[in-house]
């Protein structure tokens, strides 16, 4: 089966593991403990406690133990976890106070845990909904519709917008930043020269891969000039920006 090649995650794993979202992005998934509410639900289950009557002192202690362990793992996650720790401690302290202080006359005051329980139940509901979405998308990935039919009118590939262009540009700028540069004084390329160069390239070959074109630029300034030149040429000349796939490469084509 093709199961081996699938990037899957198990909704019920409890150990942290690495999930890859894209080839250049590695993410550490804390398994079931995607957030403080997940951890809390897990602990309640572990303690075999009733969610409507959480043994708050015990759960708080357990929670803090886990937090100490996790703090070293992921700092940005830890902030959310710490907020929850504070909430738990607050509830714990409220629970320690004698009830009479709050309800002198009324027969019923809100249990300090009530808001948290509501949040936990709500969260659990959406977690189950997420599971349902996961199943749906998995099934849906086994369905294939016909590929695009090439036609003049439905030239979907012409739909590259300025924003798509900006995305490509940003990608290159980002890549450039990482490269260590030897700054050697060089003559600035003017927009006119750049436009001339660009036009020559397009009219020689009829089409030009913008990603490649941008990559030829050496400095940030040149890149910006090249970018403006592309915008200019699309506006003034009979060329069009085409893209074969969303976020795909953008090709400048002579019409």
């Amino acid at each position: 089966m093709e199961q081996t090649e699938q990037l899957t995650f198990n909704f019920f794993t409890e150990t942290p593991h690495i999930t890859t979202e894209s080839p250049d992005e590695i993410k550490l998934e804390l398994g079931k403990f995607a957030g403080p509410l997940d951890l809390l639900l897990y602990l309640i289950k572990q303690e075999k406690a009733n969610i409507f009557d959480i043994p708050i002192a015990r759960i708080t202690d357990e929670y803090l133990k886990y937090i100490r362990l996790m703090k070293s793992l992921d700092i940005s996650l830890a902030t959310d976890f710490i907020v929850m720790a504070a909430t738990l401690i607050e509830i714990k302290s409220k629970m320690l106070l004698p009830r009479e202080i709050f309800d002198e006359t009324e027969e019923e005051t809100e249990d300090p845990r009530e808001a948290l329980v509501r949040q936990l139940l709500e969260h659990q509901k959406f977690k189950n909904a997420a599971q349902m979405l996961y199943e749906r998308v998995t099934v849906e990935q086994a369905v294939f519709a016909r590929g695009r039919i090439e036609s003049d009118e439905n030239n979907h590939e012409t739909n590259a917008t300025v924003f798509d262009l900006l995305t490509v540009f940003q990608k290159i700028l980002g890549r450039r930043k990482e490269e260590i540069q030897m700054e050697i004084e060089r003559e600035e390329v003017s927009l006119t020269d750049m436009l001339k160069n660009l036009k020559r390239r397009i009219f020689q070959t009829n089409e030009l891969n913008l990603l490649k074109f941008f990559e030829e630029m050496h400095t940030r300034r040149e890149l910006v000039t090249a970018f403006i030149a592309v915008l200019e040429i699309v506006r003034t000349e009979s060329v069009k920006l085409t893209q074969t796939a969303t976020f795909g490469e953008i090709i400048l084509k002579k019409v």
Partner: protein, 187 residues
């Protein structure tokens, strides 16, 4: 005269069914009954009946293709059973799955839409900025203006792409969120 010409050759039901099938086949996206009716210049009810007839034909034949309603239109696609062979031929693998965080965020947005970042935080208990960015990049959600409240937070809703990728006719096809409640009692 024109009227007469049009009336001269009314299409037969089977003809309409055939044209509908052809149009659904060539359409890049699921095609709505409304659009089919416009192209055919036929009554919407007639076209609807034709689509349903076609649909039952597909069911009866039980071949490699199915006709189904998705994202507000009709689409011809392969049946799930044959995905392994299709993948082998196309040499594709299933695209990377969404992370758990992204799926959770998506479920909150799908059910609460339009939803704001603070509302998502309230339910998930975690900051969801990177999950939201992933969902926006994948065009599964779209910004739907701002909420007129403190800080004017951005409102998010699901997109047509969401319906397509999750195989939904429309949002009402999602099971009710209350249906997930009884599952929580098991804790």
């Amino acid at each position: 005269m024109d009227l007469e010409n049009e009336k001269k050759q009314p299409r037969s039901v089977s003809e309409i069914v055939s044209i509908v099938e052809a149009l659904i086949f060539v359409a890049d996206e699921p095609i709505s009954v409304k659009l089919l009716a416009e192209v055919l210049d036929e009554d919407r009810e007639i076209v609807k009946a034709a689509v349903e007839e076609l649909s039952s034909q597909y069911e009866q034949r039980g071949g490699g293709l199915q006709l189904r309603e998705i994202a507000g239109g009709w689409q011809i696609s392969t049946r799930t059973e044959y995905h392994a062979e299709i993948r082998a031929f196309l040499k594709t693998r299933p695209s990377a799955k969404l992370s758990l965080a992204a799926l959770e965020t998506l479920s909150v947005i799908a059910y609460k839409q339009p939803a704001t970042v603070p509302e998502i935080l309230e339910i998930r208990g975690v900051q969801s900025a990177s999950a939201i960015k992933t969902l926006l990049d994948k065009r599964l959600i779209v910004a739907k203006g701002r909420k007129e409240t403190v800080g004017r937070p951005m409102l998010y809703g699901t997109s047509k792409e969401f319906l397509l990728q999750f195989g939904l006719k429309d949002l009402s096809e999602l099971p009710s969120i209350e249906d997930f409640e009884d599952l929580t009692q098991g804790i």
